[in-house]
C-alpha cells in the first residue's frame, strides 16, 4: 500500500501528462490516470510504474477508438462541432498546442509512443519493456521521433504562414 502511495505521488502527474497527449482533454486524462491507479490498487502489480503506463496506454487506445466511432456518428449526422478549448488559454496557446498535436500525429505510432513515454519520465529500460524495443534501439527511436516532431511542427507553422499570406 505504501509503495503504491509513493508511486502514486511520483507517477500520477507523469501519467496524466502521458495520457493528455493521447486524449487531449485534461479532465479525461485525469480520469483515466485515476482509473489506472484504481486498477493498480486492485491488482497490486509487481512493477506498478510500468504496469500503470501499460494500462494507461491501453485505456487511451480504447478511448481513441470510441472517440473515432463517436466522430463517425456525429459526422453522419452532419453536426460535428469543434472541440472547445479550455477557457483559460490564450488563442496563441491554443494554436501552438494544436500545432504540436498535429506534429505528433505525423509521427509513427511507435516513435510517438517512445517520445511520450520518455517525456512522461520513463527510463530507457522502462520504455524498452513497454514497447518491446531493445534498449539500444530506444535512443535511435527517440532521436528520430524528436527530429520528426520538430520538423513537422516547423513545417506546419510555415504552411500556416504561407496560407495567411
Amino acid at each position: 500500500m505504501d509503495d503504491l502511495a509513493d508511486v502514486y505521488r511520483s507517477t500520477y502527474p507523469a501519467l496524466v501528462r502521458f495520457l493528455y497527449r493521447k486524449v487531449w482533454d485534461a479532465d479525461r486524462a485525469e480520469d483515466l490516470a485515476q482509473e489506472a491507479f484504481a486498477r493498480a490498487l486492485a491488482h497490486r502489480p509487481e512493477n506498478p510504474r510500468g504496469w500503470l503506463f501499460v494500462v494507461a496506454a491501453n485505456m487511451a487506445r480504447d478511448e481513441a477508438r470510441r472517440a473515432a466511432r463517436e466522430r463517425r456518428h456525429l459526422t453522419l449526422l452532419k453536426s460535428e462541432p469543434d472541440q472547445t478549448p479550455p477557457l483559460d488559454d490564450t488563442v496563441g496557446e491554443q494554436l501552438d498546442r494544436e500545432r504540436v498535436r498535429r506534429a505528433l500525429d505525423e509521427l509513427t505510432p511507435r516513435d510517438r509512443e517512445v517520445l511520450l513515454l520518455w517525456d512522461a519520465g520513463q527510463s530507457y529500460d522502462e520504455i524498452a519493456a513497454q514497447t518491446g524495443l531493445a534498449k539500444g534501439a530506444v535512443g535511435t527511436t527517440l532521436a528520430r521521433a524528436r527530429r520528426r516532431l520538430v520538423e513537422a511542427y516547423e513545417k506546419g507553422s510555415e504552411a500556416e504562414h504561407v496560407a495567411r499570406g
Binding site: 493528455y20 485515476q34 498535436r101 524528436r146
Partner: protein, 380 residues
C-alpha cells in the same frame, strides 16, 4: 572508435548510457570536433522537442488524494457503453415532476449526503436513505450531466416513492435506456438515466426518503417485490427485443459494452409525430440545435437529441404522460419548480449535483462551467 551514432548521442544526452559506454563516448568526443558539433546539434534538438511537448502539456493541477481512489468509482464502467465524455445525457420525465412539497425534503436529504462505504454488491443496490456521492470531481469543470428521476404513477404513493437515484458525481454517464427500463419495471412511470448492467452497486446510490422502500435498480423481483407495480409495467423492450418479464419484475440485463446509448438506434421521426407520441410539445432546451427526434419503437417515448457547440450531445428522453394525470402533474410541476429550494441546492452544487426545478442533475465531463450554467439556465 568510430563516430558516435545518433541514437547513442541521444542516450548519452539523456543520461541513459551505461558507465562504460559513457566513458567511451567521452573519450571519442574529446578527439572529434565533428562529433562535438553533432552533440551540440542533438542537444538543441532534444531541448526543442521537449519545449514543444511542454506546450502540449496538461494544466498542472493538484494531485487528488489517493484516498479518493478507494471510494467506489463507477465512472469508467458506466462510461464505457456510451460515447466518451462528449455525451451529455439529460433524461427528463416530461411532466413527471415532484408533487408539490416534495422538493424541500428531497433537497434536505441531498444537502447532507452520507458517504456510504463500499458495500458488497448484493446489499448496496437498494439501500434507502443513502446518498453515495463521490467528491472526487467536485472541483472540476463539468460536463456530463445525468439526471435520474423517478416518480411513481400511483397517486397515493407518489411522495413516498419518489426518489432520485443519483450516481456519484464522477459517474454520470451510463446506459440510459437500460436503466430507464429497469426503472419502468419498478414503477411504470419513469424518466431516468442510470445504471448499466455492469454497474457497481454503489453506482445505484440512491437518494430516497427514508420511508421509501422502493428501489431504483433492481435485478430480480425478489430484491424488493413490495414495490413492483406490475400492472403499470410494460414488457421491457430494448430495440424491440424483450429483455425480461416486466410483470414478474425479472429483468435480464445484457451487457453491451460496445453499444452506445440505445436510443441512438431508434428510428428518426419529425417533430409532429414526436408531438403526437407525447401528446404535448416535446421539451427541448432552447438555444441548441435539434439533431434528431427519435421514437422508441417499443413504447410511447421519444428522444430528442440536441447538440451544443461544445461537441456535447444532449439527450432528452421524454415519455407520454398518463392522460388522467396530465393536468395534475403539470400543475404540481409548476409548484415544485416554484418551491425548489435553490439555496439548499446550491450546497449540493458543490458536488456537481444541481437542481433544475425538481430535477436533480449531475454533471461530469468536458463542459466548461460557463456553458453548464447557461445550459442549466435554459433547462430551467
Amino acid at each position: 572508435m568510430s563516430h558516435v551514432d545518433e541514437g547513442t548521442l541521444h542516450a548519452y544526452l539523456d543520461g541513459e548510457l551505461a558507465p562504460v559506454e559513457r566513458e567511451r563516448v567521452d573519450t571519442h568526443l574529446k578527439g572529434c570536433p565533428a562529433c562535438q558539433a553533432r552533440l551540440a546539434e542533438e542537444r538543441a534538438l532534444i531541448e526543442r522537442a521537449s519545449r514543444l511537448l511542454g506546450i502540449a502539456a496538461p494544466p498542472e493541477r493538484a494531485i487528488p488524494p489517493l484516498q479518493q481512489l478507494r471510494q467506489p468509482r463507477l465512472t469508467w464502467r458506466l462510461r464505457r457503453p456510451v460515447a466518451w465524455a462528449a455525451t451529455l445525457i439529460l433524461a427528463v420525465g416530461l411532466g413527471w415532476y415532484a408533487r408539490g412539497s416534495m422538493m424541500p425534503s428531497l433537497a434536505s436529504d441531498t444537502a447532507e449526503p452520507v458517504l456510504a462505504p463500499a458495500a458488497p454488491p448484493s446489499t448496496a443496490v437498494a439501500r434507502p436513505g443513502r446518498v453515495v456521492d463521490s467528491p472526487a470531481y467536485a472541483d472540476r469543470p463539468l460536463a456530463h450531466l445525468a439526471l435520474r428521476e423517478r416518480l411513481s404513477d400511483s397517486g397515493k404513493k407518489d411522495r413516498d416513492e419518489r426518489h432520485l437515484a443519483t450516481a456519484p458525481a464522477a459517474g454520470a454517464e451510463s446506459n440510459a435506456l437500460q436503466s430507464r427500463d429497469s426503472m419502468a419495471v419498478a414503477t411504470g412511470a419513469v424518466a431516468t438515466l442510470g445504471a448499466s448492467a455492469e454497474q457497481k452497486p454503489e453506482a445505484a446510490a440512491q437518494l430516497q426518503r427514508p420511508a421509501a422502500p422502493s428501489v431504483a435498480v433492481r435485478r430480480q423481483a425478489a430484491a424488493a417485490p413490495a414495490t413492483a407495480e406490475p400492472q403499470a409495467a410494460p414488457p421491457i423492450n430494448v430495440d424491440g427485443v424483450p429483455l425480461g418479464d416486466a410483470a414478474s419484475g425479472v429483468i435480464s440485463f445484457r451487457t453491451r459494452r460496445a453499444t452506445p446509448i440505445m436510443s441512438t438506434t431508434w428510428p428518426i421521426i419529425t417533430r409532429q409525430p414526436a408531438r403526437d407520441v407525447l401528446g404535448v410539445e416535446p421539451v427541448i432546451i432552447p438555444g441548441f440545435a435539434v439533431r434528431a427526434y427519435r421514437r422508441n419503437p417499443a413504447a410511447r417515448e421519444i428522444v430528442v437529441e440536441q447538440v451544443t457547440d461544445a461537441g456535447t450531445a444532449i439527450t432528452l428522453i421524454e415519455r407520454r404522460m398518463d392522460p388522467s394525470q396530465d393536468e395534475l402533474s403539470r400543475a404540481d410541476s409548476a409548484i415544485a419548480l416554484a418551491e425548489a429550494p435553490l439555496a439548499k441546492a446550491k450546497a449540493v452544487n458543490e458536488r456537481l449535483a444541481r437542481f433544475v426545478g425538481p430535477l436533480r442533475i449531475e454533471i461530469d465531463g468536458p463542459l466548461t462551467s460557463d456553458s453548464l450554467s447557461s445550459l442549466l439556465e435554459l433547462a430551467r
